[in-house]
Structures are given as structure tokens and as C-alpha cells.
């Protein structure tokens, strides 16, 4: 059974809420339109098609688009040696989707990490707390509107954070549509820098 066959079987079973299988670099992706049917689809994939191994759950922040979040599930069948990608969109107002912990127990820590890093809650998870940052950290770091340098916080007795001095970095080309002079990696002054703090020799963006 190939990945395309199993994708087609899922499409036949669930109909319109599953998109047409997309193929890129030999991998098949399916998009699930209705996140509430997620557990049903996953149960079908595991029990009927044999996708017994959940490789990874990832969240992507489509900043500026609606729906804002895309959660990506990588399924694998050890028996048939087949991989499949299942994606589903979550809107920002909702920021929640059902937990697949009942299907694969490895989803436990993956879903905790999604909550910690992106802020997407998995409904039905028994113990949804932060895993990489500490309990009480107020932000979700992997969101696109959270700066790499971080924001200052203080939880006395537990942990504190400060803004990291980026010194104009990271020195990477900006992915804008302007010409190459503007895109080049240069020392940049952040927009909200205090006047007088930055070096006058620095070239402004």
C-alpha cells in the first residue's frame, strides 16, 4: 500500500472535509478542513490503515493570514513503511483543537510543546502545561510577533528573562521585495530603540 493509496482511502472515507492529496518531493500531504473530525480521521488512519506511529506534531504560524495556525501531523506505518502528512488549520480566535492523545500516547509531549510555543490548546489533554518554558511564563515564544530577543519577565523565585542585546543582528538578508541594497544583511537599529542609545554610525534600515 503506497502513501497515495492510503491518502485516497481516507478521502473516500471522509469525503469533502479532506482535500486532494498533494505531492511534493515524494511526500503526500492531506489537508483536513474540519478540525473537529481530527480524532476520527486519526483513529481511521491508525486502526484501519495501520498508521501506528506518530512521528511528529508541528505547528506553523501563518502570520497575517486567517486562519493563523496550521497544525501538521506526520503519520507513519511501520508495517507498510509508508508516511503521510495530515494538516489542519486553526483560527486564532479559537486556538484550540482536539487532542489525539487517545490515538497515540506520544502526542502527550508534542501537544504540550505546541501549547507552550504557539499557544494552541489541545482539548482533552489531561495535563496541558508548559514543557520547555516554566509555568507562569506569559508569552508563547515561537509566534511570529514575539521578538527573537525576548521580552523582560520576572517570576520571583522561579525565573526571570531579559531582552537579549542583538547588536543589530541577526545578520541575514531581509525577505522583502525591495532591491538588494535594502535587503543586504547590515547592522540594523530596532524601530523602538531609545534615541541616543544606538550608535550614530549605524546604518538605519
Amino acid at each position: 500500500m503506497t502513501a497515495l493509496e492510503s491518502a485516497n482511502q481516507i478521502k473516500v472515507q471522509f469525503g469533502d472535509i479532506i482535500s486532494e492529496p498533494a505531492e511534493f518531493r515524494g511526500e503526500i500531504s492531506l489537508k483536513l478542513a474540519d478540525a473537529d473530525k481530527l480524532v476520527e480521521v486519526c483513529n481511521f488512519a491508525k486502526k484501519t490503515l495501520g498508521f501506528d506511529f506518530l512521528v511528529d506534531i508541528t505547528s506553523v504560524d501563518n502570520y497575517g493570514e486567517d486562519p493563523r495556525w496550521t497544525v501538521v501531523y506526520h503519520l507513519r506505518s511501520l508495517v507498510h513503511n509508508v508516511e503521510l502528512r495530515l494538516k489542519t488549520d486553526v483560527s486564532e480566535e479559537k486556538s484550540a483543537l482536539p487532542s489525539v492523545l487517545s490515538v497515540w500516547r506520544t502526542a502527550n509531549w508534542h501537544e504540550r510543546e505546541i501549547y507552550d510555543m504557539m499557544g494552541i490548546r489541545c482539548v482533552g489533554h489531561p495535563d496541558l502545561r508548559r514543557i520547555l518554558m516554566w509555568e507562569g511564563y506569559p508569552y508563547h515564544p515561537l509566534r511570529k510577533d514575539f521578538p527573537l530577543a525576548g521580552k523582560p519577565t520576572d517570576l520571583p523565585g522561579v525565573a526571570f528573562t531579559r531582552v537579549t542585546p542583538m547588536e543589530g543582528g541577526p545578520f541575514v538578508t531581509l525577505p522583502t521585495k525591495e532591491d538588494s541594497i535594502a535587503r543586504e544583511p547590515r547592522v540594523r537599529v530596532p524601530e523602538d530603540a531609545e534615541p541616543g542609545v544606538s550608535d550614530k554610525r549605524l546604518v538605519k534600515k
Binding site: 518554558m133 521578538p147 525576548g150 525565573a159 526571570f160 537579549t164 542583538m166
Partner: protein
């Protein structure tokens, strides 16, 4: 004669008796038996283990054992990235170490945060504890760690131990 002279010893004159300053003797004892407390956090911990293994052998410098208990160690070697989550633990363990104590910040991450300029990394362990020797490198070669240990030993040998002891101040003629 320079103030930091350690001892002048001629076996024909003194025999089995060495006459020296108490400072010099105390510093010599302390410098030659610095027991490290490895705060091994990340990749530098692997190089620290390599320093303790047989090729680079830290025990020939007096650091016979790596004591994981802060009460039994002299020098905390912070080896690896200190994150904000870990910072409280590092500080607490440093506070539990008994005097005299020193700190070696091993590697770029412990010295300044290294290449991890992000929201989660403490930009240098000297934000929370006083550091005596910084070792650069990512990770530093074991020879660099041994060099840092030798520099620390040189620093220890120059410490004015007795002059800081409050109880002896009247004896030394310094009034409270």
C-alpha cells in the same frame, strides 16, 4: 623581595622545616587541590568529561575528583549554556558552595551567551554569579580548560587570605 614570595627553602640550612608566610602556605594548599564542581549543562560538559578522562587528566593538576556536591568542592566550572530556566538552580548551587570558592565560565555560552542570542538564554553566567576565569571556545579544547585551571591557580596564589580574616585584625594591628 617581592611581597608574593612563597618560600625560600634550603634543605641544608632548614632541614625538614620550611619557614614561610601563612598566606603563602594556605594559598599553596588551596591552589593545588582545587576540586571542581562540574555544572555540566551542554556540549562543554562533554569536553569537561574529556578533560577528566585519561588523555588530558585534570587530576594531575590537583583536581582529583569531580565532586557533584557543592559542599565538597572548591571551584564551579559552568560548562554549557545557562538558560533562564536553569539560572535559579545555578545560583542556588553556587550559594551552597562553602568558602573559598571560585568559578570558571567554560565556553562561549557560559561567558557571554555564545551564539544563542535568543529569548531563553542568559547572556553570560556572570549576570548571576561572580566569575574568576573565562574560557573562550565553542567548546574550548581541553588544553584551554587546563590553561584556565592554571590561571586560576595563579590567581589563588595571590590571594591575601589572612588580611581578610576579621578575627585576626587586632593581632595585625588593624583596629576595627
Amino acid at each position: 623581595m617581592p611581597m608574593q614570595s612563597e618560600y625560600a627553602y634550603d634543605s641544608k640550612i632548614e632541614g625538614d622545616v620550611i619557614v614561610t608566610r601563612v598566606d603563602a602556605a594556605l594559598n599553596w594548599f588551596r591552589a593545588n587541590s582545587v576540586w571542581p564542581m562540574p555544572m555540566g549543562l551542554a556540549c562543554c560538559a562533554i569536553e569537561l568529561m574529556a578533560v577528566g578522562a585519561s588523555r588530558f587528566d585534570i587530576s594531575r593538576f590537583g583536581s582529583e575528583v569531580m565532586r557533584f556536591s557543592p559542599r565538597q568542592s572548591d571551584c564551579m566550572i559552568v560548562a554549557g549554556t545557562v538558560t533562564y530556566k536553569m539560572a535559579a538552580c545555578v545560583k542556588r548551587i553556587y550559594d551552597q558552595m562553602s568558602e573559598p570558592k571560585w568559578v570558571i565560565a567554560m565556553g562561549a555560552c557560559a561567558s557571554t551567551g555564545g551564539m544563542y542570542r535568543s529569548y531563553a538564554t542568559l547572556q553570560g553566567v556572570d549576570n548571576i554569579i561572580p566569575v574568576d576565569v573565562y574560557v573562550s571556545g565553542c567548546p574550548p579544547r581541553p588544553e584551554a580548560v587546563l590553561d584556565a585551571l592554571m590561571k586560576l591557580q595563579g590567581k589563588i596564589k595571590k590571594e591575601p587570605v589572612l588580611q581578610d580574616l576579621v578575627a585576626l585584625k587586632p593581632l595585625l594591628g588593624q583596629n576595627q
